[in-house]
C-alpha cells in the first residue's frame, strides 16, 4: 500500500454548503483527497453524498464553499471545468450505448477525427491501449450490448481512464456486480491508485470500504462527521458514525415455528436460464436463494411470479398446482415480487407515494366506479408510518425520495396486496444501513405474521443472518439446500461457485 499522507493534494473542497427548497443538503462540508489515495465516502441515503459529488462534477453550484483542484482554486466550477481538470465519474448506472462497439463507446464524446470523419484507427488503438492498461480481456470491436454487465462496467471505467483523469469518483460501483466481478473491479482500482490517481469511492458496503479504502469520510444529514484512516476504524464504528445511533443488531432474526408449505416448485425449467429447479417455502419461513450473478436466481423468481413462462415443471401454492402465466395471475394467486431493478420495474417515479403504494390493490379499494379516496389515504398514511417512509409526505412524487425510501414503498405496495408468498430480489441493494435495518424488520414482521418469504441477495452476510434455509443455484442448476445451522459464507460460496455437485 502506498503512503497517501505523503502525496500531494488532488482535491480540496472547503466549507461546501448547498440548499434546495426546504432542504439543507450540505452544510459546511470539507473533503480532501490525495493523489494515489482511495478515499471512501459513507453515509445513509440523503446524507449528502450524491449532492457533494454532483457539485464536484459541476452539475450543481454550491451556495458557499471553495473547490481547489491540484492546488488551484477554481471560482466557477462547471461540468466542463470538472472534466478539463481531470475529474471522471463512474455512476451506478452505466452511460453507454449498447449498439456501438466497445471502442466507439470508449471514445464517445471525444471522437478522434480526421477531417470531418471519425478516425476509426485511432479509436481502436486508443481502446486497445486503455483496455490493456486495465488488464481487461475485451475485444474493442465487440458490440457493447453483447458484454456482461461487469464487462460493460470495465468499458465505462476504460472510457474515463482514456481521458487521463486525476480524480475518479466511483458511485456505488459494485451494486450490480457479483463477488467475482467485484474482485476484478478492485484490481482495476488498485492499478489506478498505483498510478497516482485519486479515487473517491462511495459505497453502502462497508466491507468493501474496509478492504479498498485508505481513508473514509462519514457524512450524516448533510454534515461532515469525521474523516479517518480506514485502518483505525471498525465497520461497527462506521455504522455508528453514519446513523448517529447504535444499531443494536444489524439483522434481527426471530425464531419462528414453521407453518404449512406455501410454495412448492417441482423440476421447473426454462430453456437457457435454469433447469430442474425444485424448492419449497413454508409459512413463517424466510428462504434464501443464493448464487452468483447469472446463476438464474432472478429468472427463477420471475418465473414463479409469472413474468416469464416456464417450459416444464410444476408450481404449487398451498398444495394446489397453479399455472401462472402473467403477473396479474401471480398477484391474484397471492404472490408478490419486489424486483431487482427498482427503477425499471419497481417504482412509477412520477406518481406519488400514495399512488405507488396502492397500485397493485387499487381495484380492491373502489366501489363499482370510484376509488374510496379517504380510505386510500388512511391505508397509505398508516403504511407510510409503519414503514417509516421519510419524509412522510405521501403526495410527493416518488422520484423525490431516496433509494431506500423508494424500496420501502415498493415493499409496501406488495404488503398491501396481502400476499402469502413474498419474493424479494435484492431488496436492500443500494439502500443505506438505516433503511436496510427497517426493511429487514418489515420482512421479519411479514414472516412472523404467517407469510412465506423467498429472498435473493448478493450479500451473503445478509442471507445468512435473515434466512432459515438457503438454496444455492449454480449456472441454472440448484446445487445445494443449506439449513441455517450449516450455512456459512464458505459453504454457500462453495456451492455457488460449483464446487458442490449436488445437495
Amino acid at each position: 500500500m502506498t503512503k497517501p499522507e505523503q502525496s500531494a493534494l488532488a482535491l480540496r473542497m472547503t466549507g461546501i454548503s448547498k440548499s434546495f427548497p426546504g432542504v439543507k443538503a450540505l452544510q459546511n462540508v470539507n473533503l480532501e483527497v490525495r493523489e494515489g489515495e482511495v478515499h471512501a465516502i459513507v453515509g445513509e441515503n440523503g446524507a449528502g453524498k450524491s449532492t457533494l459529488m454532483k457539485i464536484l462534477a459541476g452539475f450543481y453550484q454550491p451556495d458557499e464553499g471553495e473547490i481547489q483542484a491540484a492546488g488551484e482554486t477554481v471560482s466557477h466550477w462547471t461540468p466542463r471545468e470538472a472534466r478539463d481538470r481531470g475529474i471522471g465519474m463512474i455512476y451506478q448506472e452505466l452511460n453507454l450505448v449498447p449498439d456501438l462497439s466497445v471502442a466507439e463507446n470508449i471514445s464517445l464524446g471525444a471522437m478522434p477525427r480526421r477531417g470531418p470523419f471519425v478516425d476509426y484507427r485511432t479509436v481502436t488503438v486508443l481502446a486497445k491501449s486503455v483496455l490493456t492498461e486495465l488488464d481487461a480481456d475485451i475485444d474493442p470491436g465487440t458490440r457493447l450490448g453483447d458484454l456482461s454487465i461487469s464487462q460493460q462496467q470495465l468499458v465505462e471505467i476504460a472510457k474515463v481512464v482514456a481521458r487521463k483523469p486525476r480524480i475518479v469518483v466511483f458511485d456505488e460501483p459494485t451494486s450490480s456486480l457479483g463477488d467475482k466481478e467485484t474482485r476484478v473491479l478492485f484490481d482495476v482500482i488498485e492499478k489506478m491508485r498505483s498510478r497516482g490517481i485519486a479515487i473517491i469511492y462511495i459505497s453502502h458496503r462497508l466491507q468493501e470500504v474496509m478492504e479498498i479504502g485508505d481513508r473514509v469520510t462519514v457524512l450524516r444529514d448533510g454534515r461532515h462527521i469525521e474523516t479517518r484512516d480506514v485502518a483505525g476504524v471498525t465497520p461497527d464504528q462506521m455504522v455508528r458514525l453514519m446513523v448517529g445511533r447504535d444499531l443494536s443488531e444489524m439483522f434481527p432474526k426471530l425464531d419462528l415455528e414453521l407453518g404449512e408449505t406455501v410454495l412448492s416448485v417441482t423440476n421447473i425449467s426454462r430453456v437457457g436460464q435454469f433447469e430442474d429447479v425444485t424448492l419449497d417455502v413454508r409459512a413463517n419461513e424466510i428462504v434464501g436463494l443464493a448464487g452468483l450473478v447469472g446463476s438464474g436466481r432472478t429468472e427463477v423468481a420471475r418465473a414463479i411470479f409469472g413474468l416469464d413462462p416456464i417450459d416444464s415443471g410444476e408450481i404449487s401454492l398451498r398444495g394446489k398446482v397453479v399455472r401462472i402465466t402473467n403477473p396479474r395471475k401471480g398477484v391474484a394467486a397471492g404472490i408478490a415480487l419486489v424486483p431487482e431493478d427498482r427503477k425499471g420495474q419497481g417504482i412509477i417515479p412520477a406518481l406519488s407515494v400514495r399512488e405507488n403504494f396502492t397500485l397493485a390493490v387499487i381495484t380492491r379499494i373502489t366501489n363499482a366506479l370510484l376509488i374510496f379516496a379517504r380510505r386510500e389515504k388512511a391505508i397509505v398514511t398508516d403504511l407510510a408510518d409503519r414503514l417509516k417512509v421519510n419524509p412522510p409526505q405521501i403526495e410527493r412524487p416518488l422520484n423525490a425520495f431516496s433509494g431506500g425510501n423508494q424500496q420501502k414503498v415498493v415493499l409496501g405496495k406488495w404488503l398491501l396486496s396481502e400476499p402469502s408468498l413474498l419474493i424479494l430480489d435484492e431488496p436492500t441493494r443500494g439502500v443505506d444501513v438505516g433503511a436496510k435495518a427497517d426493511i429487514h424488520e418489515i420482512i421479519g414482521e411479514f414472516a412472523q405474521s404467517g407469510g412465506a418469504v423467498l429472498m435473493i441477495s448478493s450479500e451473503l452476510p445478509e442471507l445468512l443472518a435473515v434466512c432459515d434455509r438457503i438454496f444455492v443455484l449454480h449456472e441454472g442448476n440448484l446445487v445445494a439446500e443449506i439449513p441455517r445451522a450449516a450455512a456459512s459464507e464458505e459453504s454457500v460460496m462453495r456451492a455457488a461457485t460449483g464446487q458442490v455437485s449436488a445437495a
Binding site: P21, F59, P349, D385, P392, Q393, I394, E395
Partner: protein, 327 residues
C-alpha cells in the same frame, strides 16, 4: 428500531416551480387572452362571440378529451383521428336513407370506434409504435372513405336529430352541452377510478405497472378505442350540424386535439394529465384562433402560433422533467 426524526405523515404537496406553473398557468392564460381580446377587438368580449368560439371548438374538444388518455398512458398520440372523424361523418350521412338518421348516427360512431379498437390492438397488444400504427390505420381508413364516396360530398336529410344537434338548451348550444357532459364523465374516470390510475401508471412506467399486475395492454388499447369513439361522435355531430360531409372533414383535428392536450399541461411522455386541464387547453386554443381572426391576421397564422406554443409547452415540460430527474 427507532427513527428519531420521523414526524407525522403529511399530505403537503411539495411546491416546485413545475407544479406551481401547471396549476396556475391555465386560468392565468385564459384571463390574459380574454384581456388581450377585449383590447384588440370590441366584438371579442360578447356573449355571442364567445359562445360561437366555444361551440365551434367543442367537437374537436371531444377528441382532445380522448387524446388526453392516449397521452397519459404513454401512447404518444393518435394520428388516425381525421380518418375516424371522416368515417363517423360519412357513415352517419351515407346510411341515413337506408336505416334512418338515429341508427345511421350510431352506426357512424360504431365504425369510428372500430377504427379506434384496431389502433388499440396494434399499439396495446402488438406493441407497434403508436405514431406508425395510427398513421397507417389513418391512411387506410381515409383512403377507404374516399374510395366509398369518390371524393364527393354526402348531404344530410333533414331530421329531428339534426335539428336537435343544431339547437340550444338554456341558451347554450347542444354541442357545448355534449362537450361539457363528456368532460364531466371523463374527469372522474381519469382521476378517481382504478382505470384512470392504470392509465397514469402505464404511462409513468410500463414495466413497473405490468409487474404490479396492471392490465397494461388493455389499458393502452382502450385509450385508443376511446379516442376512436370520441372521433366518431365528433364526426357524427359535425355531419349533422353542417348538413354535409366530405372525407376531408376532420383534416387537422388530430393536431388541434394534441395542441389542446399539450397546452393543458399533459405530458407527451405520459404519466400525468387531467381532463380539466385539457378543457382549459381547448378553451385556450379556441381563444387564440379567434383572436387571430379578429385581429385581422391571416388564418394561416393559426398553425404558426399554435405550433410554436406546442413546441414551447413540450420544451418546458421536458426541461422540468430533466431537472426533476437530476435531483
Amino acid at each position: 428500531m427507532t427513527d428519531l426524526k420521523t414526524p407525522a405523515v403529511t399530505f403537503d404537496k411539495t411546491r416546485t416551480p413545475g407544479t406551481l406553473f401547471s396549476t396556475l398557468s391555465i386560468p392565468v392564460a385564459i384571463v390574459v387572452l380574454v384581456v388581450i381580446g377585449a383590447i384588440v377587438s370590441p366584438s371579442f368580449l360578447t356573449v355571442s362571440n364567445l359562445t360561437n368560439v366555444i361551440n365551434a371548438n367543442s367537437t374537436v374538444g371531444l377528441i382532445a378529451l380522448g387524446m388526453t388518455f392516449v397521452m397519459v398512458c404513454g401512447g404518444l398520440a393518435d394520428l388516425s383521428v381525421p380518418a375516424n372523424v371522416a368515417m363517423g361523418a360519412l357513415v352517419t350521412l351515407g346510411a341515413q336513407p337506408v336505416v334512418g338518421p338515429g341508427a345511421a348516427a350510431l352506426l357512424g360512431i360504431l365504425v369510428a370506434t372500430a377504427g379506434g379498437v384496431i389502433n388499440g390492438l396494434l399499439v396495446g397488444y402488438l406493441r407497434i409504435n403508436p405514431i406508425i400504427a395510427t398513421l397507417g390505420t389513418g391512411s387506410v381508413l381515409l383512403g377507404l372513405s374516399q374510395l366509398l364516396i369518390g371524393g364527393g360530398i354526402v348531404y344530410a336529410q333533414p331530421s329531428d336529430l339534426a335539428n336537435f344537434v343544431k339547437s340550444s338548451i338554456l341558451g347554450v348550444p347542444v354541442l357545448i352541452w355534449i362537450f361539457v357532459i363528456v368532460a364531466l364523465i371523463l374527469q372522474p374516470l381519469l382521476s378517481r377510478t382504478a382505470y384512470g390510475r392504470w392509465n397514469l401508471a402505464v404511462g409513468g412506467n410500463y414495466q413497473a405497472a405490468a409487474a404490479s399486475g396492471v392490465p397494461v395492454r388493455f389499458t393502452k388499447a382502450s385509450a385508443f378505442a376511446l379516442t376512436g369513439l370520441l372521433s366518431g361522435i365528433c364526426g357524427t355531430l359535425l355531419a349533422l350540424s353542417n348538413g354535409q360531409a366530405r372525407p376531408i372533414i376532420g383534416t387537422g383535428y388530430e393536431f388541434v386535439a394534441i395542441t389542446a392536450v399539450v397546452i393543458g399541461g399533459t405530458s407527451v411522455f405520459g404519466g400525468n394529465g387531467s381532463i380539466f386541464r385539457t378543457v382549459g387547453g381547448v378553451i385556450i386554443t379556441a381563444l387564440i384562433g379567434n383572436l387571430i381572426i379578429l385581429s385581422g391576421l391571416p388564418t394561416q397564422a393559426t398553425g404558426l402560433i399554435t405550433g410554436a406554443i406546442v413546441v414551447g409547452a413540450v420544451g418546458i415540460d421536458a426541461y422540468f422533467r430533466r431537472k426533476a430527474g437530476r435531483e
